[in-house]
Amino acid sequence: MKREVPLFLTAVIGVFMILSFFVPHQVVSVPGQFLQLTAVIVVSCGYVLGGANVLRVNLDAIAKQQPGWIYKLVLVLSLLATVAIGAIEGSGFLDPGRRSRWIYDTLYSPMSATMFALLAFFIASAAFRAFRVRTVEAWWLAAAALIVMIGRVPIGDALTGFLPPALHLSSIQEWIMNVPQNAAKRAILMGAALGVMATGLRVILGIERSYLSGED
């Protein structure tokens, strides 16, 4: 029963959700809506579990004073402070002038943006150290990358402005993106879609069971 019930539920709900895609009648759409609402609630509960897991893992590391425990302490304190301030301020906690809003505008937002901005520096360093061209195919890839990289920004046209329009770097990069890149991307998309359908069918039919307990 421990395995049969989840397999049965998965099969029934899976078939039902596929049906709801094609059948707009209320016999299907009303329970479909209920299932979608249930999914939203289950995902919301996941946040509570996620938060509890972050606390458990990090408090354990802090207690054992593992390497980098001080950063974990900052994480835990920040998490608790943010949740506590939000809970105290209640509804409207993100209104202008509230402390939660201040945390979002002056801490979370700039720190998040900074992390992403650092990528520019590391990409340049990685381009110098790691982008080694060793084969003919890699040369093709590198040439396409350089053309798209320069052609995508205004300096591409500034450098090739004296050539006929068809030979401008922006025109060549547009062709690369629209023709060879697009063809390859479409093939990947179709392959992935077929894979998803096959996996979905395997789950619904009970052939794929790894989601039950990690066993096949």
């Binding site: 995902v43 943006a113 061209v133 350089l146």
Partner: protein, 274 residues
């Protein structure tokens, strides 16, 4: 030691410094290079221009502060174009870190350029709801069902703008400004394909290639790719916003990365373990 050998031993902090200078200089002293809009940017602009005046549009801003330079200029310009046409805008944000940012961006546009536009009448921020694709599909059953309250805690059914925005059929266009998952791809798969809602998208440069097949199939009517796409959109609107100003810096940064790739392949390689 030859110059190339010396280059091979270059401390990477010099690369960081060079990148910093190349980004900073054009921001202080713009080079004002010509921006040439691509076909997909033109169709994005045309799709919004073709919306009937006063229509209610759905706009999903699925990003967080990490993508501000690419996503925010698109959002601002799209809001200006929509409000010039007196359109009403229903905004959703399916990224947990995004609603506060998006709320501020749109509020700033309203205060600076459209002081007459009022929250709840001309626009609403429905905010974040966990569930990703499930939320998109649930909205198809009814926007009020999926979002009984907006981001600011109001009952959505009490807002004037929501009186004519109940299902996807009430929107002539979906504008997806997205920095990843969930985002444009999921909106295409779950909403455009299922509810046949015309759709345009603004995405990050790194993810733009993924969406070209959708443009070619007509599922996306228009596409803005990264800051370059945002700058092209500003150019089409005769605006000079953050994206246009950032293009000079991005141009030099791209050239520098290209140079790094070329030089990295010229310098003698160290053997493993040396």
């Amino acid at each position: 030691m030859s110059p190339l050998e010396r280059l091979a031993r270059l401390d990477r902090r010099w690369i960081f410094l060079m990148m910093g200078i190349l980004v900073l200089i054009p921001l202080l002293w713009p080079l004002k290079m010509e921006i040439r809009p691509t076909a997909s940017s033109r169709t994005f602009h045309r799709a919004i221009a073709a919306i009937p005046d006063g229509a209610t549009v759905l706009m999903s801003c699925d990003y967080d502060p990490g993508s501000i330079p690419e996503m925010v200029p698109m959002t601002r310009t799209a809001m200006r174009q929509l409000w010039e046409k007196n359109c009403k805008v229903v905004v959703t944000v399916l990224w947990p870190g995004g609603p506060g940012l998006v709320d501020k961006v749109i509020e700033d546009v309203a205060v600076a350029d459209f002081p007459g536009k009022r929250y709840g009448v001309d626009w609403v921020n429905l905010g974040y709801k966990p569930g990703n694709e499930a939320v998109m599909v649930l909205m198809g059953q009814g926007i009020l069902t999926a979002f009984p309250n907006d981001y600011r805690g109001n009952l959505t059914r009490s807002l004037p703008i929501m009186q004519r925005a109940r299902t996807y059929a009430d929107f002539p266009l979906l504008i997806s400004i997205s920095a990843g998952y969930p985002g444009t791809k999921e909106w295409v798969q779950q909403v455009q394909a299922r509810f046949h809602l015309p759709m345009v998208a603004g995405v990050t440069a790194v993810s733009a290639p993924e969406f070209f097949p959708y443009v070619q199939s007509g599922q996306l009517v228009g596409l803005l790719g990264g800051m370059a796409g945002a700058a092209e959109y500003e150019k089409l609107r005769n605006e000079s916003g953050d994206a246009s100003r950032g293009m000079d810096a991005q141009s030099l940064a791209h050239v520098f990365v290209a140079l790094c790739i070329v030089l990295g392949n010229l310098v003698p390689r160290r053997r493993a373990g040396s």
